[in-house]
Amino acid sequence: MGVRRYTKMAYKDPDEMVFGHAKFPVLEHWNVQFGAGYVVPEVKVAPEPGTERSKETLVKEMASIAEQAAARAVDIGLPAFMVEQEHVFQQTYHADWGYACTLAQAEVLKKYYDEYGVCAALRQTVGDLRIEEKGGLRGSEYDNAIAQCVEECCKAGASDICAETMGGKSVLDYGVMRGDIRAILFGIGYLGSIDMEYFWKRTVAQCAKYDTRPAGDTNCSGANTCMYVAGGLLGKDMSHTGAALARAISAARSLVAVECGATGPLKDCGYENTIIKAITGVPICQEGKNAVCAHADVMGNLTCQVVDCWSNESVFHREEMGGPTPAVWLQATGYEAALMNTAIQTGNAKTLRDLYTFTDMFRDPQGTLLAYPNAYRVGKAIVEYGKDIYLRARAAALEASKIMMEAYEAKLLQMTRFELDTLRKYTSILESLPMEAEIFVDQCMREYPRKIPTFDPKSYGL
């Protein structure tokens, strides 16, 4: 399979984008469609501690999560839903566990689909076990285990496959800790994009053999780490403007999965998905106000704006007063999806979209950046340099900077000194970077391999 770089936007105008609708909807088995005119709620639950001790206990745990979710879906009348399972180590490492766990969930969902006609989808997100400093990203024991596991999940009936690959992590981590925007750009934008191509060419080819969609990959290890480290308004670890720049850069990286043939719905924790949807037109999953169980972000409503599959991120598997968590959190995302579907059915989708967006657009620089008209601008900056993974990542960051500064100058977005100072500093560094990828890589390769012991250039063919 080749890599088809995007040099044009899928949407002519940001206003065309709205939740529940994608230019290229995706059909999965058990009759679920994404982006075809309705929003699908998703639930994701982490296995209980200890259940990883044997294949048998983990398989039971998986079946139980699916069953509890499905039972609630029916009890409150959800037309469709998705169960996602993010693999723990053992599930991916032992391909036979991955198979058995997927099968157990597939059987439950099929039973409910047959009995009630409730549409259901099953996502398996394999774990990226690869460790740069232990065997590298390519062809290592861990890398091979992942490839095998993908195959088995497809066989066992997964509706789609996702991942959160870690390419570039070593350099990115260094950049986050030092506030080094060039390292962030190199880690996410360059190294990340290279590894994505390696990983997704393979995965797309594997899925093609089955009734399983290659759905996509989020930059959890990069942009989400930045967002998480940046924290709430009183966080002290990373500036929110810096986190916003990392997010813009990550769009250029996560786009690569689609360029390799991933179809969506893109994985929920990619807050960069609005940008990628604008470029490619594929459906996306997102998380936000109903993912408070998993982490605190400062844009809980905004991420609904153009979502096609609405997720809770991840929660402990245990009991609430309102029932087991797979039921409780599917109900949470289910009701939000129902509201969006009502808006679609009554012709108010765009109004509701704008309400979601406006609620968080100026709460934080990250919200400003991701508000769909601005996300669209970042997308345009990317496709302008679409064929060059370095230049497009740099352009994304520069456009992001412009967007935030404009909002600040229009007195819409307030910033602290720290936010403003880092933004200015990072911007001038970004501006001063070379216009040729080769020179940029050269510069980076002179510095980072020396400073970062875990960085393994061979993993990127460098």
């Binding site: 069953e67 409150i76 009995e115 009630y116 679609i344 059915q345 009554t346």
Partner: protein, 276 residues
Amino acid sequence: MALLDWAKKADFDMIFKRYNVIIEGPAIKPEDDPDVKKVLPTAEPFKSLAMAVIFGDSEKAVQAAKSALDRGTAPLDVIEKGLAKGMDAVSALYAKGAYFLPDIMLSADAMTAAMQVAEQKLGRAREKKGTVVSFVAEGDPHDIGKNLVVMFLKANGFEAIDLGRDVPNSQVVDAVKKYKPVMLTGTALMTTTMTAFPKVAEMLKEQGLSVPVFGCGGGAVKRDFVESYDMGVYGVKAFHAPKLAEAALAGKSFKDIRKEYPKIVGEFVAEYADRM
């Protein structure tokens, strides 16, 4: 009004589905249900006795009992071959969603009324399957679950001692001493009252009392909490209580019941999904 305009154009199926309506089969008479047929007596007077219970008709049940006794049917047969079979049928109908709680209550009322007539003739109360003591924890006013448990136990032939709500721990222990039940059921719904359970369990232990099963259910109470102390078994639905009591009668320990819960109650129980 926007709402009414919307109602005209919206496709409801995209917003919600009423699965209860969707899966509803054609209306059939209770006596035509295959599971009822399995337990329903075909011979008279038992059939009429059972049918009166199934329809929750106290008057008819009493009448049927009286006329059966008059015609020489043994009082114990009236109860066991007639009334109790009707109640079994009702339980089956409830389990499959064809009957609802009030139906069960009315059937239980009918059965009780008719049974009293038979017992009068018998000259004594029918022997009960066994005794169960039920209470709501100290400081807790939530007693509907407990009331249901008591009702289901009675309807299924158990002696149910109802200690009421907001019951001091010591009173529970005294009752266990006094009645030597096969099972003790505590109900609590609050984080701060469910803490009575381990205390009661501890006190029972101290006194050398071993109640084979210590069943508890309710709002804030979850399985892991109940299983964190000895003798605790987590009860999910009130109608499970008689089945659990039967298991206890059959000599199963609290550990057995924990492990085999879904098997004992004979249905999928989400809270025990990992033990299916």
